[in-house]
Amino acid sequence: MSRLRGLWAEARPVVAVPLGAVVLAMIVASVVALLSSFFTEAGFDPSLPFKVFVGLFGGAFGGLDHIVNTLVNATPLVLAGLAVGFGFKAGLFNIGAQGQFLLGAVAAAGVGAALNEAPPPLAIGAAVSAGTLAGAAWGFIPGALKAWTGAHEVVTTIMLNFIGASLVAFLVLNLLQAPGFSFARTGDLGNAALPNAGFLSADLGRLHLGILLALLAVPAVWWLLYRSTIGFEVRTVGANPDAARYAGMRPGLLIIFTMTASGLLAGLAGATEILGTSHYMIASYGTSVGFDSIAVALLGRSHPVGILFAALLFGALRAGAGPMQLEAHVPSELVDVIQAVILLFLAADLIVRRLFRLRQAKRGIEAVETATETYGRKLVT
């Protein structure tokens, strides 16, 4: 018991603000749902907040299949959240996880369909590699642009998201389109599909191998950041690029490395999502992973373990959104509102600290304090 208390005392300054932000966001979201119900056909319903949370919680945890759904939803968020968080550590704001995810998804779908009759290890290995490489390439571009020309990654990654969406549409409609379907999609994955736990129980049918990959990525990224010299260099560039240059590090190269690694993780997220869950790619693949991953990284304070928990939270919200809409007749987009409000409270951590009487809590978003430093300035001379 006292050991637990000691642990809490240590974790409190780091965890308190994110937790507070989540609690406050839930309250604000209830008020939003309640007030907005005034102007709907159904009319005002004072029990709405209760219904909303019963729906959300039940949808996320009310039964084995729901828990699996939460885990499946959390998987790409862990990987993409790590992607964004890794970028933050180097002072880079990768808003391009969306595009890197899509490219990873389409590459995995394409290669997987092409190799659907190859032996499973080969087919899966090739499809996963194709996805990660495609994501890495899509991350390399803004990294190289930043290092060589100073173009700010926030703008270039957003642009690459749009370009990536067009590229995916082009690929699916032209090169990768499989015949025999009523709509444009890639072919069946066959042996390239990730194995799942369906052999244990039918409820576990959606629990695919990607979850394991995501869980392994957490300690891997942690080790890279905190126990390797490259991680030290990445963090130094993020905290003080001038000092990094002085110390003989090469910020330009590190920026390219970080963005590529970040894209790789996001690409892996896309690959596992396709190979484990969706099983094929369509021309206009809709996903909220781009913004969700930013929210996950910020809520998890760019720390791999924090990101894991934040991804589980958002995975639960996404999993619970549908059931909530059915039960409470509140649009599932309420989850987006909750997410937005969490982020607002994280940025304005001052309010959270006041309300919960927290002192000396670390700044919520300190990881990216250098993100704006090189805005509009050429970094490498």
Partner: protein
């Protein structure tokens, strides 16, 4: 078709000829398409000249587009009115513009509070605004607009300039391009020039530039840095609001989730390409919109001959990506050589404790 069989030089000459030929047709389209980008860029110029980066222009636009549409729609539903002869304006549309501007200013106030008072990272703050705007408009869109498919106040109409002007030799097409527009697009050029003059000739402009370059220096001569930054960020929000109003009340007459499609970010690139001046940013916005307009022209009136074969062979997804590609190219080519206001992105704290 074997690409080597096309004479490159010939195609280039054809391309130039085609551009000259379609220029009078695409100029009005380009100026219309430039309006939201240019207005967003004005938001960016004012903010960054005062030392505040605004990545949230996209979100402000989206919020304004939504609120403008919603308010105009409800007013039109409640008080139907016949459109006036000029611009087809109705009370609903005008109130919609005001609502859109106020909505964007409210979001800008949030950004100002986060970046000036809370001293949060400005890029994070802007990103959060973008995410919040997308989430909130998506939620309320489903809640209020989707169940009312007939909601809407229509759009402003383009002004039809008198034939004497548009048929003037040489400049006629140019006058037509600028005048054959709705009220918001037409006002852009005026706004740009006024801001350009104010920024470099007025007391407000001098103080704004000082605050963006060296806030401590401004502080020591008695300028209230925080107040000026607040005022400017909120004022700048009004332009993002006009941009949003343009999208739902002048261009389309409908609201769709995420309908800003990156214009706020292209506007930021226009700010940098235009070297943080209103006129330069307007020019950059025109460049971006021209690429869009060209795609429209190619789709509607494809050129003939080799050039036509070539341009129509390029997949439509490429044309859709063109403005985004151009933005990246412009950013990559120009950033190293243009210098941002020195204090951009840095919160100002009065008492520094060394």
């Amino acid at each position: 078709m074997d690409p080597t069989s096309i004479p490159v030089l010939g195609v280039l000459i054809q391309l130039v000829g085609y551009l000259v030929e379609v220029l009078p047709d695409i100029a009005p389209i380009a100026i219309g398409l430039a309006a939201p980008i240019a207005l967003g860029a004005m938001c960016g110029v004012i903010g960054e000249r005062s030392g505040v980066v605004n990545i949230g222009i996209e979100g402000m636009m989206l919020m304004a587009a939504f609120v403008g549409f919603l308010v105009a729609g409800f007013v039109a539903q409640t008080f139907p009115a016949t459109p006036w002869p000029i611009f087809g304006a109705t009370p609903a549309l005008l109130i919609g513009i005001v609502a859109a501007v106020l909505a964007a200013m409210a979001v800008a106030l949030l950004h100002a509070w986060l970046s000036v008072s809370v001293r949060a990272d400005q890029i994070i703050s802007g990103t959060i605004i973008n995410i919040a705007a997308l989430g909130l408009t998506g939620y309320f869109n489903r809640l209020w607009i989707a169940p009312n498919p007939r909601l809407g106040a229509g759009t402003f109409q383009s002004f039809i300039p008198p034939a004497e002007l548009t048929e003037l030799p040489l400049v006629g097409w140019l006058l037509k391009a600028f005048l054959n527009q709705g009220p918001i697009a037409m006002s852009v050029i005026v706004i740009v020039i006024v801001l350009q003059v104010l920024l470099f000739r007025s007391r407000w402009g001098l103080r704004t530039r000082a605050v963006g370059e060296h806030p401590a220096a401004a502080d020591t001569v008695g300028i209230d840095v925080l107040l000026l930054r607040y005022r400017n960020v909120v004022l700048a929000g009004a332009f993002a609001g006009l941009a949003g109003a343009y999208l739902t009340l002048e261009a389309t007459g409908a609201f769709q989730n995420g309908m800003t499609t990156g214009r706020g970010f292209i506007a930021l690139a226009a700010v940098i390409f235009g070297r943080w001046t209103p006129i330069g940013a307007f020019g950059a916005a025109l460049l971006f919109s021209a690429s869009d307009a060209l795609a429209v022209a190619i789709a509607l009136r494809p050129p003939t001959g080799h050039l036509g074969d070539l341009l129509t062979a390029i997949p439509s997804e490429f044309y859709a990506s063109l403005p985004y590609l151009l933005t990246i190219i412009v950013l990559a080519g120009v950033v190293g050589r243009s210098i941002a206001p020195a204090a951009v992105g840095r919160p100002y704290a009065k008492e520094s404790q060394a």
